[in-house]
Symmetry: C2
Subunit: 336 residues, 2 copies
DNA sequence: TATAAAAATACAAACGATTGTAGCAAATAG
DNA sequence: CTATTTGCTACAATCGTTTGTATTTTTATA
């Protein structure tokens, strides 16, 4: 079908082995031959057969990327994944690695995921967002390096890159404090580790500033805008509510704002709100939402770098890397 | 390293060829041997080496997915891609195909894209959103089937699946008309084919209902919320403006709404707005945005189906498939 | 000029499967 | 009881590379 190394060899009257070495510019073959081979290769528009190369090298040059299944539940997860993928792609491409995607469908043990892993069709794996212990175990027994991204996973022995949620929560809360708010609530999420990290940052910020946390004001939604709306509405009805909220995702923060407005109060006059993520169009929310910007693509890039190091066996850095978020001030907290 | 067909052969004292056939349940091998082989395979936890299989079959079982580079420009493109990817993944997985992603970086001819294509590392290619004629040509000379998704590309000879933008524009416009609006503008986008389709649907709807289009009211933005904001603001200043707008993307529609509000007018009382896309959180825009929902994941699924048919050489359907969008009524157009 | 050393190339065995052909039983036919 | 068919299985080539070893050619040395 297409030109192989043998065609070049035949054309030039030399052996395939030499052609192979010439193509690799091996010092074992004369400069002249290298030149002739390269010329012939170009003339025949030769392209190496990657599959064959893989067979002998035992390396696939593939990176598996496992995404969470419940992608449809949280719209911003979609966006998150998309951006992270960009980061990943960017550096994977630069290193000549391909990406193989698979969705983690917890149920069916027949999915692409298992196929990829068990078939050793990847040199390493990136797991985004969710952790499936089965997969992790399978990966480990197969000796395939893994790095977790945005996993909110507790095990410190896993390689992972995450947003620094604790710091994020702390900075957000301190921003509120610096604006003079004394009663600050938090609306978290129904995801254990993530929630714990946020809570810890939130509490620490309060403590450092000599403020007391009121347990009645730390709530938990399940991620959707709507859930945050309901939670907020409920607390508003009770007549005792804080003057500000740190909300752990923008998507929920939008629900909070809407609830406050629907309740007849004003943001930020009556209640200030900070979110986290920095999803698009926040400038067009009313009022524009102040938030902690998470560097998603950067997380992806970092993770691939780590994984590549692991694959090539020369990674020396920490097992856990936390990317620092940044406060983006808009109008939902008012100003001094 | 890991168990091969030979290990099984050795263990059972039979030949590798027979093992291979047994694993394929070939009628040429006895039921008994098949059973013994399967047992041994399980015991040794044998997994076929895909690379080797690929080498002999000549099929990669990979589908290349080309994404557009300018992903950072339009935030909703990110989301769009992510959703489409889900659709693609879903059916690719079901057919045991892997996905190989590459970003179309028009400039550098060295990118992963060219690597994938020229190295014939894919059985077929999906191109999302943007068309690079070079790639297309390269693909064609290599005999690799391609299907374009959301490409807004004119060439009817290319296999493609798109949203039916013309119909979308027409339905949106007619919705406005049915609500009694007589002067209806359109805010389009700086992308030739897409704009043309929308314009055609918009004009057709007006014509069918006996309304005249006012050329002063068909405008063009470059996609961002901000660009739509400015356009709207400008036309508002001129004191002559339509009572309703069909805006070709939600992202821009949000800019329109904001401009109208900032100008001191009301949506939908003074100006009604319909968007297109149905991006997330539209229920939380103020007022909630009526829009044409595009079935993005469905486009992805359809495209893969088409490509697979092409790869396997039995595709019989149309070269062009248009997915029908659907009107989602919220509050930005008022009601009768 | 014979000879050792160095340089360039050829040969052949891998990598892990698939598959056409050949071989050897046992079963059936004459 | 030989001849032919049938059912299984073994052998070996193949896919397109890479790479260790052997061989040839060239160059330098004595």
């Amino acid at each position: 079908m297409s030109t192989t190394i043998k065609d070049i060899a035949k054309l030039l009257g030399i052996s395939p082995g030499t052609v192979s070495r010439a193509l690799q510019k091996s010092p074992r073959v004369s400069k002249e031959t290298i030149l002739r081979v390269e010329e012939a290769a170009k003339k025949l528009s030769y392209r190496p057969n990657i599959t064959a190369q893989r067979l002998v090298s035992g390396k696939t040059h593939n990176i598996g990327v496992i995404l969470s299944k419940d992608i449809r539940e949280y719209t911003s997860v979609q966006l998150f994944n998309s951006i992270i993928l960009n980061g990943i792609l960017e550096v994977a491409e630069a290193h000549n690695y391909n990406l193989n995607f698979a969705i983690d469908s917890q149920e069916e043990k027949q999915g692409a995921l298992y196929r990829i892993v068990q078939n050793k069709d990847v040199d390493g794996v990136l797991i985004i967002n969710v952790v499936n212990e089965d997969i992790l175990a399978s990966l480990r027994t197969n000796g395939i390096p893994v790095v977790l991204i945005d996993n909110h996973f507790d095990n410190r022995s896993e390689y992972a890159v995450n947003n620094d949620d604790r710091i994020g929560a702390s900075i957000a809360t301190k921003h509120l404090i610096s604006l003079g708010y004394k009663t600050i609530g938090m609306i978290g999420i129904n995801e254990e580790t993530f929630h714990r990290e946020c809570l810890s940052g939130y509490l620490q910020a309060l403590a450092e500033c000599g403020l007391r946390a009121d347990p009645r004001f730390v709530l938990k939604g399940w991620g959707s805008t709507h859930s945050a709306y309901e939670i907020t509405w409920n607390i508003l009805k009770q007549n005792r509510f804080p003057r500000a909220f740190f909300v752990v995702t923008d998507e929920m923060a939008i629900g909070v704002i809407r609830a406050v407005k629907d309740f007849g109060l004003s943001v930020p006059r009556d209640i200030a709100v900070v979110g986290m993520d920095d999803i698009p169009l926040l400038d067009y929310v009313d009022p524009p939402l102040t938030t902690m910007r998470i560097y998603i693509a950067e997380m992806g890039r970092t993770a691939v770098g780590m994984l590549l190091g692991l694959i090539q066996g020369h990674y020396q850095g920490n097992t856990q890397i936390a990317i620092q978020p940044k406060l983006i001030v808009r109008k939902s907290c008012g100003s001094k």
